[in-house]
Structures are given as structure tokens and as C-alpha cells.
């Protein structure tokens, strides 16, 4: 389907929306592993996104690193940070875990906004474009193919992960952590690996976004952005990789359609969030799948 999409996109603006959808989808697939499959909560994933974005931006713009190296380094460093703070944080449960991740996200956004000498402060900073072996990746079409390829790769990795023994261990955790431990699953280790993987994906997507837009602001690490990300995952369907992609697609493009409503945009967004969660609590894709399955079972 990704291959056919460009035929429907008339101009650079629509390509941009598609690229943003793809980048958001990469983050969401990762976040879904943590929230949907492992059953944990994260209200601070924009913090990882922001760290990846700013890390890459600072290394490339202020220290002159080649963008690809900056991207890799920033992603790896963020993953390492996630590994470090993951252990103590993941011992918390439910709302306490939500608070811890929330606090993390807020700390990142405050630090990034305050250190204006390095990060350009609340007004953000410019980011050099991505270049591979000397040639810059520019133009909407090139970026589209790049992001599409990365998204496909991410989904493939996620699906394989879920079907592996590690994935099954994760899902067992979701069902009941105590029971899973009783049959010998190392809960802490598996939760940590889901946390780190989702952080890596968020950071990579963050760095890519920064290089694509050529500009990054602290808003990308904000609480509001964390909420947007988790809403995409929950809306599309937790524990469904395609659901995460669909969620990203719908919630990234929805504001573009709501602009005609101007003043009512916020009201409508809130209403949409609430109504879909109330009437489709398992998310869009699982609900549709269930409806299709039920329809198929009806006698002809």
C-alpha cells in the first residue's frame, strides 16, 4: 500500500503529511510493544523522541558531525539512557509508572528548553539536512521512500519480535506479572528490553524528523506530544502493530482536516478521542477485525 500512495499525493504538502505519518508510525510501533504487548504505561515517550532529535541536531550542527553518524550516536545514547533509568522505573506499577515516565518527559523538555546556548532554547534550532556519504537527502519524494522503507523494516522487526519466545514472554507479562514470574519469566529483563527498544525507535524517529524538517523545537519533547503518541497507539489498537500504524495515520492527518473548523478544532479533537475510546476501547483495528470476523461467521 505504501507503494501505491504516491500516486494519490498531488503536491509536496501532502507528501510532507505522509512523511510525518510514517515517522509517527515508527514511534508508535515501538511504543505499542511497550504499552500494548508488555502492558506498561509511558506518558513521557516524547522525551526519548526529543533526546534523539536534539542529540542528532546538536552533534551535527554544533560539532560538525556527519548527520548519519550523529543520528546513530544520538539513537544509541538515548537507548543507553533508557536502559539506565528503565530498571528502577519499571519496578513501579500503573499510575506510579505513569507519573515516573511523565516526570522523565517533563525533565527532558525543561532541560532542552533552558540550555539555550546549546539547544537554541524555546525557539528551537536549525538542523542540517541528512546526507549519506556526502549526498544530501532532499526533496519530499526521496524522504518519502526513505521513511516508507524504514517503516516497513520496523513493522517487520516488531512482528518477528512478537512471535518470538521473547514476544510471548512479553505478552505473558501483560496478562499477569506475578503469574509470568511464577513460570520462570524474568519480568524485569523483558520489561526493560521492551522499554529500550521503544526508546530506540522513538529516538531514531526523532532524529529523522529533525533532519527532515531542518528545525527542532522543545515542543517535540513536551507532555502534549507524549499524549499525542500514546493516543495514536491506543486509538489504533493496542497489541496490534498495524493498529499502531493506523492510529498514527489517522491522528496525524485528522488535524489537517479539522482546520476548516478553526475555533472548534480543539473541541472536536477532544470529542473524537473520548468517543472512540468509549465505544471502541480496544482501539480501531481490533474492533474492526472483530466485526469482520463476526460478519464472516454469519451463516450465508
Amino acid at each position: 500500500m505504501l507503494l501505491l500512495l504516491p500516486l494519490a499525493l498531488p503536491n509536496a504538502y501532502t507528501y510532507e503529511v505522509a512523511i510525518l505519518v510514517g515517522l509517527n508510525a515508527i514511534v508508535c510501533v515501538g511504543l505499542n510493544l511497550l504499552v500494548g504487548f508488555a502492558g506498561q504505561v509511558s506518558l513521557g515517550h516524547a522525551g526519548f523522541f526529543g533526546l534523539g532529535a536534539y542529540g542528532s541536531a546538536i552533534l551535527a550542527a554544533r560539532y560538525g558531525w556527519p548527520p548519519l553518524a550523529a543520528l546513530a550516536a544520538a539513537t544509541a545514547a538515548t537507548g543507553a539512557l533508557a536502559w539506565l533509568i528503565g530498571r528502577p522505573i519499571l519496578r513501579l506499577k500503573g499510575h506510579y509508572l505513569a507519573m515516573a515516565t511523565l516526570g522523565f518527559g517533563i525533565i527532558v523538555s525543561i532541560v532542552v528548553a533552558n540550555e539555550d546556548r546549546v539547544t537554541g532554547g524555546p525557539d528551537g534550532m536549525s538542523v542540517p539536512p541528512l546526507s549519506v556519504l556526502g549526498t544530501a537527502i532532499a526533496g519530499e519524494k526521496t524522504w518519502y521512500w526513505l521513511v516508507a522503507a524504514l517503516l516497513v523494516a520496523t513493522v517487520w522487526v516488531a512482528l518477528n519480535l512478537i512471535d518470538s519466545p521473547r514476544g510471548r514472554a512479553l505478552r505473558a507479562l501483560h496478562g499477569s506479572e506475578t503469574a509470568a514470574q511464577a513460570i520462570g519469566i524474568d519480568a524485569a529483563r523483558h520489561k526493560l528490553s521492551a522499554f529500550v527498544i521503544s526508546a530506540l525507535l522513538a529516538a531514531a524517529a526523532g532524529a529523522l524528523t529533525a533532519h527532515y524538517a531542518g528545525f527542532i523545537t522543545p515542543a517535540k519533547a513536551s507532555f502534549l506530544h507524549s499524549i499525542e503518541l500514546i493516543t495514536m497507539v491506543v486509538f489504533g489498537g493496542m497489541a496490534s502493530t498495524f493498529g499502531a500504524v493506523v492510529g498514527a495515520a489517522v491522528l496525524t492527518t485528522l488535524p489537517q482536516f479539522l482546520t476548516v473548523f478553526k475555533e472548534y478544532e480543539m473541541v472536536l479533537l477532544g470529542a473524537v478521542m473520548m468517543l472512540t475510546m468509549i465505544f471502541m476501547p480496544r482501539g480501531l483495528v481490533p474492533t474492526l477485525e472483530k466485526a469482520l470476523a463476526a460478519a464472516r461467521r454469519k451463516p450465508l
Binding site: 504499552v35 504505561v41 506518558l43 528502577p88 522505573i89 519496578r91 513501579l92 506499577k93 500503573g94 499510575h95 506510579y96 505513569a98 507519573m99 515516573a100 511523565l102 516526570g103 522523565f104 517533563i106 525533565i107 525543561i110 532541560v111 533552558n114 499477569s176 506479572e177 506475578t178 503469574a179 511464577a182 507532555f223 499524549i227 500514546i230 493516543t231 491506543v234 486509538f235 493496542m238 475555533e263 472548534y264 478544532e265 480543539m266 473541541v267 472536536l268 479533537l269 477532544g270 470529542a271 473524537v272 478521542m273 473520548m274 475510546m277 468509549i278 465505544f279 476501547p281
Partner: protein, 291 residues
Amino acid sequence: MSAQLLQFLLSGLTVGAIYALVALGFAIIYNASHVINFAQGEFVMIGGMATVSFIDAGLPLPLSIVLAVGAAALVGLLLEKLAIEPARNASVVTLIIITIGASILLRGLASLAWDKKIHALPAFSGEAPIALGGATLLPQTLWVLGVAAVVLALLWWFFNRTLTGSAILAVSHNRLAAQLMGVSVRRVLLVSFGLSAALGALAGILIAPITFTSWDVGVMLGLKGFAAAILGGLGSGPGAVVGGLALGMIESLGAGYLSSAYKDVFAFLIILAALVVLPNGLFGRRTSERV
């Protein structure tokens, strides 16, 4: 004690009292429904903004306050009836999204019903600062603290001495058992949301003379109130108040002695550290998980 330190402590008390009142609202709803109502900050906003509207329409302050609190309670009841009840079996994350959606919706409606400007409420007993050993305190802060104390006492009486209050506590301990004893869980949820909303609105009205009010004043206050409630231990009323006061103190002392730019970072770092050591907050109950 140096005048400077005293001033920092008094500032912390002012801010902490504000957080404490908001945190109480979180605690009450959580107690009854195990739901964190991320729209709690919006109740605070409705209290302040509605009072401003009523005053602008010419009503006297006390009447405006009563009407505003009533309006907020109504919104709380509607929220529970229309959004929480239909989704009562959903997962924690789904409920979080619903209440976040509600907060966005309420903010959007507020920006339409009112405007996007900042509004002030007159201080209840004047603005003349009270001098205390070289530092100063606003009379309004005493109002906030005083009302918070009275509210806490009333809540204690309500939860421990009345039938409805006991019913709410019963539901929070064991929903099934409470239902078997004839408690209407639905009614309990309605009452808690209404009560929490009224409390939030009251908080908003009390603090508006100090902090001003606007359509989006609920965002930051809701966040800090949530943090305070968690710090104190979810579901504990006294914990919420202690958590709020502690958060206010940490911020003020952090701003005074370390770095004013990073005071929020210190506050959150300390909360994180506290949670690592005490995973259920300061006064939180140890929960056991049934397999």
C-alpha cells in the same frame, strides 16, 4: 531563621497549599474508581472562570462562588455519566486517554464560552501583605490554607461518619464486596466525581486572586496536582495534602538556593527518587495483586 529562608518557606507554603487542594481532587476520584482524572485541572479552571463570569454579570462574590462550584460539580457529574460509566471496564490506559480527551474538550469549550484572556479575582480580604519576621505573606494564602484544613476535616467526617462516605470507601477497598452489601457503585462514582469537581472548583476560586485564571490554567496545575497526589500516595487524602505542600516547598527552596530555572526539574527528580524508594508514595497503601 534568616528572613530570606523564611520568605522561601512562606512562598513554598503558598504554592504548596494550591497543589494540595488540587491533589485532593485526584485522590477522591481515584479512591472511588481507580481512575486518574486528568481533567481535574479543568475543574479548577471552571471554578475560577465561572466565578469571573458571574461577577462580571453583577452577582456578589459569595453567590458567584456557590454558583461556580455548583456548575463545576454539574460538569463533573456529566463527565462521569457520559464518559466514565460507559467505559468502566476499559483498561487503565484507555481510561487515561478518555480523561485526557475530556480535558482537551473542556479546554476547547472554555476557550469558546469565555475568551483566551487572563482574568483576575479580587482577593477575599484585601492585598495588604502580612509581615512575619522580615518576610511577607499574602492574606489570600491564609484563606487557601484555612479552607484546605476545613475541607480536610469535613472530608474526614464525611468518609468516616456518613453512610455515603463509608460506601465510597467500601467501593475503593473492594468493589465486589461493596456491591454484595447493597452499595450502588454507580451512585458512588457519581458522587465522587461531583465532589471532586466541586473541590477542584473551590481550589480554583481560592487561588485565582494569587495566580489569576484563564482558559488553560488547568494544564500545569493539573499536572502538578497529579504529581503531588502520587508523591503523597494515591488514594490517601492526607497524603495528597502532604504531597502538595512538600512539592511546593521543594520548588520554592530549589528556586531560592539552587537554580530558579531548574526548580521544576528538581521537583520531578525528587519525586522520581521518592517513588523508587517508596513505590507507593509516602502514604500509599501496599496493594497486592491477585493472580
